[in-house]
Amino acid sequence: MPDVTKTVAAVEDAVAPPSAAQPAPAKNKDKARSLWGDAWQDLRRNPYFLVSSVLIFILLVITAFPSLFTSASPTVGDLVHHFNGKPELGKVGSEGWLGYDGQGRSVYARLIYGTRASVIVGICVTLIVTVIGSIMGMIAGYFGGVVDAVLSRITDIFFGIPFLLGAMVVLQSFTERTVWVVVFALAFLGWTQITRVMRGAVITIKQADYVHAAKALGAGTGRILLRHIMPNAMAPVIVVATIALGGYISAEATLSYLGLGLSSPTISWGVDISAGVNQIRVAQHILLYPSIMLSLTVLAFIMLGEAVRNALDPKLR
């Protein structure tokens, strides 16, 4: 069996049912589209894609300009409001409409400013992991033999360490845990998944006629890898990476919740949820709103990944 089947993400599946029942895309006169052009036509009509891209767009705007959404400060609190959780109806978007936390800080402002940590962790880890994993996977898959054996065993070694547990240990060895430390810890253990997917894809593709043709025409190894193999092997990697992005955001929040990820004064949903646990009986809003926001964010990225998968995988059409 190819290794691809063993990764958790390769194992996740599709959202929309195979649309075999739908009429095939109109065979109009336009010229043959590439895989990516075809995928784009498919994506534009997928409601999951539209919903998730709107959500992600809003999240990115919040990440870049949090002050557009609230004028309240996420770090300054007034103890007058201590645990005040009564939503002020009709004042959507005001400082106190989602209540206040134990320090009298606005829950809404912390929600808005906490977006940045989650989105940055998710995107940076995914970028690093995709670059490292693709390079390792391409080298292992293309050269095969001893190189493949060594790289595959190294991948196995990192893959064997339980993800959350390993990240906890890595994080614990840093005294000051900033966003970048969390990014490092997650990327340190996360690259194996992409490596396996890439390796599997490259092993299939290097048998293709166009690769043999390129070789026969005298193309160098670098050119074959970059111009012929990589563009064709990227599809499964992009799908796995997008879905994993949601997972990394979730992992950051879990680690922060356990007290081993980000910590105050960094503003993050995980930190707020962790603080809210102690008041679960008296002030549930402190726990509730960051949890909802976190779940929505993860949902948006997973939905995007699955929409992309449906568009790129011809078997699911």
Partner: protein, 310 residues
């Protein structure tokens, strides 16, 4: 077959050594000193600290420490002693493992029964209402992080409805384990359901299905034997890798419901720099992972006779 198993076992050796060495190096690079921690706030006599470090073998070069530790495990099944309490790690794990195993087994049964059940329903009705409902339900479950799911269940069923106790009592009754098991197995349930669904929906169109229907086999046999057996390979792959993940994922779930299992020990030993306990635990988890992944590969041949291992 025999040669394949031997080759796989030989391949496991470097992976096992590599993984344990990696975690060993990671744990021992942690800042802080567990021996100094024994003295609390008091200033310790340097000679005493040196003596304890020597007795524990902490003054040896790190690779030699690794060698001593691993040969102890392999030769005498000796996982070392906890630094703070002096109890053998095998004792500590012996107390905690049965609890976590029970929790993980319940969670596994839950995801197996409901995951495959939902997947079969969705797969057979691909594209219809039941299918879409199940897809949206599983998508929601996947997006809610485990600890959030735990607190939702706790808030609704323990605080609002009062159906379950918010925390598991010291007796660790089986009935109290149901809520933690649902939380622990929830995420995997969603994956199992989606995998089963895709796999079944794909195989429904296969030629052997048409043949089976054409030769007049009853529907129950067509679906129960022909379709199920062929659709189970990706599901079995996932379930196998999930066994180890369930035991590692217990850190969060056990914390929420106050289950006294391995998760709590993992957390405590990371915070207290209890290297021996942590490395011992990870060694066990890595072994579980390696053995299950071998068993799964062997199971492929049972499910799909076309797969042969030379």
């Amino acid at each position: 077959m025999g040669r394949y198993v031997v080759r796989r076992l030989l391949q496991m050796i470097p992976v096992f050594i590599g993984t344990t060495l990696l975690i060993f190096l990671m744990v021992y690079s942690l800042p802080g000193d567990p021996v100094a921690g024994l003295f609390g706030d008091k200033a310790a006599n340097p000679a005493t600290v040196a003596k304890i470090r020597h007795d524990l073998g902490l003054d040896l070069p790190i690779l030699q420490q690794y060698w001593n530790y691993m040969s102890g495990i392999v030769l005498h099944f000796d996982f070392g002693n906890q630094i703070a309490s002096g109890r053998p790690v095998t004792d500590v794990l012996g107390d905690a493992f049965p609890v976590t195993l029970q929790l993980a087994a319940l969670a596994f049964a839950f995801e197996l029964i409901f995951g495959i059940g939902l997947g079969v329903i969705a797969g057979l009705r691909a594209g219809r209402l039941a299918d879409n409902a199940i897809l949206i339900f599983t998508l929601l479950i996947i997006s809610v992080p485990v600890f959030v799911l735990g607190f939702i269940i706790k808030m609704v069923f323990a605080f609002e409805l009062g159906w379950i106790a918010p925390n598991v009592s010291n007796d660790q009754l089986l009935s109290e384990m149901i809520a933690p098991a649902v939380v622990l197995g929830g995420l995997s349930l969603a994956y199992v359901a989606r995998l089963t669904r895709t796999s079944m929906a794909e195989n429904l169109r296969a030629d052997y299905m048409r043949t089976a229907v054409a030769k007049g086999l009853p529907r129950r046999r067509v679906i129960g034997v022909h379709l199920m057996r062929n659709s189970m390979i990706p599901v079995v792959t996932f379930l196998g890798t999930d066994i180890g993940a369930l035991m590692g994922g217990a850190v969060v779930t056990e914390g929420i419901f106050n289950v006294k299992g391995v998760g709590g020990i993992i957390y405590e030993s990371i915070i207290r720099r209890e290297g021996t306990t942590l490395v011992g635990l990870v060694t066990v988890l890595v072994l579980v992972y390696l053995v299950t992944s071998l068993l799964i590969d062997l199971l492929y041949a049972v499910l799909d006779p076309r797969i042969r291992y030379a």
